[in-house]
Symmetry: C2
Amino acid sequence: MRILGIDPGTSVTGWGVVDGVGNRLLHVANGCLRTRTADPLPVRLDIIFRGVVQVIQTWQPDTVAVEQVFVSRNVESALKLGHARGAAVVAAGFNSLTVHEYTPLQVKKSVVGYGQAEKHQVQEMIRLLLNLSAVPPQDAADALAIAICHLHHQSPALQAREARP
Amino acid sequence: MRILGIDPGTSVTGWGVVDGVGNRLLHVANGCLRTRTADPLPVRLDIIFRGVVQVIQTWQPDTVAVEQVFVSRNVESALKLGHARGAAVVAAGFNSLTVHEYTPLQVKKSVVGYGQAEKHQVQEMIRLLLNLSAVPPQDAADALAIAICHLHHQSPALQAREARP
């Protein structure tokens, strides 16, 4: 099963593709879609939408996972994040893919084992779990973590393996 | 020039199409896209995205206008509104249409003449300006108001006519 995890943001949208093969996690690809602050919001959302569509068409995931968000720093940042998530989520629907949502707590627990993990701990665990030669950029690491979280929820075998390495 | 105005919301997304012909405003169509609260957010956003794409492909507007939003009741409603706006805005970009944004103040001033207008005043003015037999539903009326606002900003002749009926 191939999962695309997405960590949306108006400035940087991280993405990561992970295969779950038996009880193994295999890294496929990851990256970041970047937009310019100077551009109008519709242009930035178009870049996110088209970027996610291109990632889907290139890597052909079976399903998509994004982080569920209930809170934000303030109303302005909530509006921004909502726009970016909206653009990313409809890109998945446009490609007839189901979108699964996980809370930040579920994602962190799934990767690091506890919900209060720091960003750099998530990055380092992603490197270890996926056998990468270097730590991926933060937004891409978060996206890979979301993809892994979905695989863990689909396959308890994977979760057991990660819990007892 | 044919304008599609959109008033996005996760529950109800109003839309309205208006032609500007010389110094006249002509009503073309209006309606509401409704989603079910019980459905997951990705499903609701998909309904908004596909609905707006269908409206664009049916009515073939030259450009799209939406209300610019800076404030919201709280973080939760800002996230919801952001998602819905994101879905609607990328539907326009998907059809290679430019999206213009206007503040609520600009929209109300453009239609009613002053920025503190009540919802029902906007609805009644839309009925008068577009020569409709009945007041359109609130979300559709707001969408028509946004379309008219864009036409006014494109053609000062239209604005002068409305200001001195």
